[in-house]
């Protein structure tokens, strides 16, 4: 219990007290993100029924009160509100429609919330499959990383039936600071993918621009100031500058450690590319950004923050 000592003990005690009155919530997928999210549900007094394909991932959560079961189907048997947080589309398909999947034992009226970042077309498929069983599926991917998950500061972008949104919101506000309703099922994913595509474009653009400016004799802090008071301004220039030494507390000033890894960005851009291809939507810069993060992922930058594109581009040509 030592881990909740710093100020959060009070909340913890309160939530334990109120637990009796709340019905259990299922949670499937206890990775880096899922674990702190499920913990926050527990802290808010919700009994949690959890499972993960790697049983050892459930240990910590079990220690603080979660009930661990063997499979998604078992979760569905015991809870009528279930949250899933999984790495990618195939995992989601397996967890929902696989032989021991949620839909094998889901009860009519169950609310299913998928916070994984996946192809919106898969979200729509899962929604249809759930509907056939009388259940309701919503997509609710997050922005914000492990830190935001621990502090319940995530942003949720939610797609699904508007009349079910309130029920979803009740749970999501325990884990996040912002919950935005985006429209029909799949639009939560769409919003997430769109934001991250523009983020990647802005980051690479900022890195190119800063590198060019430095080579042309500009001081990087001065150039940053000029961009930020002008039309070049973007989140990557004013909140997450990729040039070491320009800002404090961002990955570029910590050797590109921490933050949002290049392979994760490449994955999200792959989703953007797939949805764009499948809807015949041209995304020339998004496509090229995808290719660039793809190349970086295989050339030693896989685990560095995605702002390391500055480092990737800046090397001077040798003689």
């Amino acid at each position: 219990m030592g881990r909740f000592e710093n100020g959060s003990k009070y909340v913890w005690v309160v939530s334990l007290r109120s637990m009796a009155s709340k019905t259990p919530v299922g949670f499937i997928g206890l990775g880096n993100m899922g674990s702190p999210m499920a913990t926050n549900l527990l802290k808010n007094g919700y009994p949690v029924i959890a499972t993960d394909v790697f049983p050892e991932s459930c240990k910590e959560l079990q220690d603080i009160g979660a009930q661990v079961v063997d499979s998604p189907a078992d979760v569905a048997d015991r809870a009528d509100r279930i949250i899933t947080m999984l790495p990618s589309s195939p995992n989601v398909i397996e967890v929902y429609t696989g032989p021991n999947g949620i839909l094998k034992k889901v009860k009519k009226g169950t609310l299913l919330i998928d916070s994984s970042t996946i192809d919106p077309a898969v979200s729509r498929e899962m929604a249809k499959a759930a509907e056939k069983m009388g259940a309701v599926f919503m997509d609710a991917p997050v922005s914000g990383g492990v830190g935001a998950a621990s502090l319940a500061k995530l942003t949720f972008m939610v797609g699904g039936l508007e009349e079910e949104y309130e029920a979803a919101q009740e749970l999501l506000t325990c884990m996040g600071a912002n919950v935005v309703y985006c429209g029909q099922v799949g639009t939560g994913q769409a919003a997430k993918i769109c934001n991250n595509m523009l983020l990647a474009i802005g980051m690479i653009g900022t890195a190119e621009t800063m590198n060019l400016g430095i080579r042309l004799g500009l001081d990087p802090k001065l150039l940053t100031k000029i961009l930020n008071m002008s039309s070049g301004r973007c989140w990557s220039s004013d909140k997450y500058n990729p040039v070491p030494g320009v800002m404090e507390g961002v990955p570029s000033s910590n050797n590109y450690q921490g933050g949002f890894g290049t392979t994760l960005m490449a994955k999200d851009l792959g989703l953007a590319q797939n949805t764009a291809t499948n809807t015949k939507t041209p995304i020339p810069l998004g496509s090229l950004a995808h290719q660039i993060y793809r190349v970086m992922s295989s050339r030693g930058y896989a685990n560095k923050d995605f702002s390391s594109i500055f480092q990737f581009l800046r090397e001077e040509e040798g003689q």
Copy 2:
């Protein structure tokens, strides 16, 4: 004089009064931008000695008090502070070093300020040529369009000797709201080019993102709101959104009329490309942005605002 009636008469009168005590300023290049800039110098009480390759461009300025002469050399003969505002590098080379150019008659100690947007390498060449004649050259390109020029709200990015900056600033503040010292000669151009390259990348990225989001079922206003509270935020999403109907008072809501034309953006991206090529700096997204505006310029978008990239990309494929 009727044109200054609305509220600005007072300033005008004041400036006339103080005119006697100010030495003349030369102004070369009286196009859409140069004319209102020179007018603002007159309003601030500076006698103006002007010329333009098209004599008819000088008419209006003459009517409000400027002295018009035949050539850049003649301007240099009569003024020891000269501002040039020209379309592109070859014009600048001609005006400074041509047979009737400034440097033919420039006096020692003359301050030459070039507000054209050109290749920084040309700025450095001009500075060297000026130095040989005992004159001082500074580059001071602007951001802000015709409207900002009329209202003296331009931003100037200034490169050149730091000890001459104050003298330049005295004149530039009559024509602009922000004057930023960027470093050695050429860095004003560098800052301008860098900003516009990132602007172009951010605009195309925003257009791709909005178009993809709309095809995936998101409402454009909602998507804009989400991007602007998240890491996708940029000037093109929050101040100059390219989707008609999302914002008031921007070119996208006026059929992409006004604003900053696609060919002008293509020109600035060409400068960015040239400086990047010549310094062996990789700019993958900047390069592709250049190509995109190049193609648009020849496919009917030449005179539309550069945010019309949204329109260019959005068309649905026919059956």
Copy 3:
């Protein structure tokens, strides 16, 4: 029968004679490509059992002797060798695994040959599904268009079990001039997709190069000659030149009519992009080629030959 009068009557009579000794072949998908392919099977003496989602497509084939049935399942009920020729992945999935699909009534040992151009991952899925029913699935996409299909001059790229290749070859040689065994199931698709991606890159590259050369003062025929004797040589420069007037008998000299349409190329590049994304393979030029054909498809070039990229790029910028 008049349609076979010109010289091919003899073949036709011969094939009718040998028909008795051959077992029927199923054919599903009688579009522009499927119809002439099935016709060639008939000409070679194979009884054909056919179906199409649009019954009227079967008319012609019925007139020359094919037996038409209602559904893929019905075909599977009557034939133990079946060829499918369908527009895209979802159609293939439906025809094989749908409610009236082949696999509903397929007999053990049936040979299933899919000549559609689709995602190799779907081919592998279909192969697995077929295997469960005791049938064998091979992918055998074609290169060559409607003309080559009519003349039995197609090239087939075949993936699947090597021990089944001979059986497939027997049928495919009736419809094509080249049959190439590529390896395990899906590799036929892979070869097709790879070839077309490189084709698209070479075509756009040739168009850019020819356009640049012409603007620099080179005669297009001379430039073509130089490229073709040098390292710039490629199929698009020496067999299918995109510049009108350089070669006879290619779409560029016929206002880009006929040939291989821009949307079809965009579709194949979409497949390349999807397989590359899913295997995390960087394809920077392939990606950009995809985006370019995507944009062209929605800007009036959908039905022009893909060499019309020259026309798309060549326009001069207006004043």
Copy 4:
């Protein structure tokens, strides 16, 4: 003289005999390419007057009979046919128009042939400057490397006045196997630049395609065979395949040693980009190819053959 022992002694003797009847040829720029080219002029019986900015470069040529002088002006003083072979545009400008440049002492009617690869606009400037002095300038860049230079197997692409072509051809055929007349001055450069741009695009395209095919399970030799019998065929697939082991005697089978270095390709693509930018010609794939070789040049591939793009792209992503 030992260096000509192997079979070439006879030619050498013959050429010495005929030397008396030939007027001297100037040669400026004795680098890796220039030295063997000048040697071949000597072998063909032309007295050579040479100079180089690095005097030590002239040693070898002096030993076999060339007269070495101090400057381009001195060459112009002694020869009325001069060949220049220099690294880049600024060198050419210096050698022709610098303080000790050719044009300082050029005689009326002198034939100036520049075999450097430079911006065609610079060629045109040099031609104008030469014309003012009554001399004739032609551009004649080469394709083929050091080996071809030694063996007199270069290809020359020649731009300039048609009536002077014959005179140029006389000299160029001593150094090359193919001499192609391209048109007005600058078109030799244009042809060279165009060919190399398409070459780069084809090479990167081939590398992407081979890499994708291999990941999809295709054998690289088989895929090469399929491409080469189909529309994907290009010089990089059938003569210079970038995949190690597919072909003998190409750089890819020798760890990408020898051949045409990545930085040289980046330089030529930079020229293509500059001419395209300055003529407002869109080259989307050419631009991206330039960026890719730019990045490779600064990431350890500078001195590898340009086919090493295959190696650059192929790395698998780590975990």
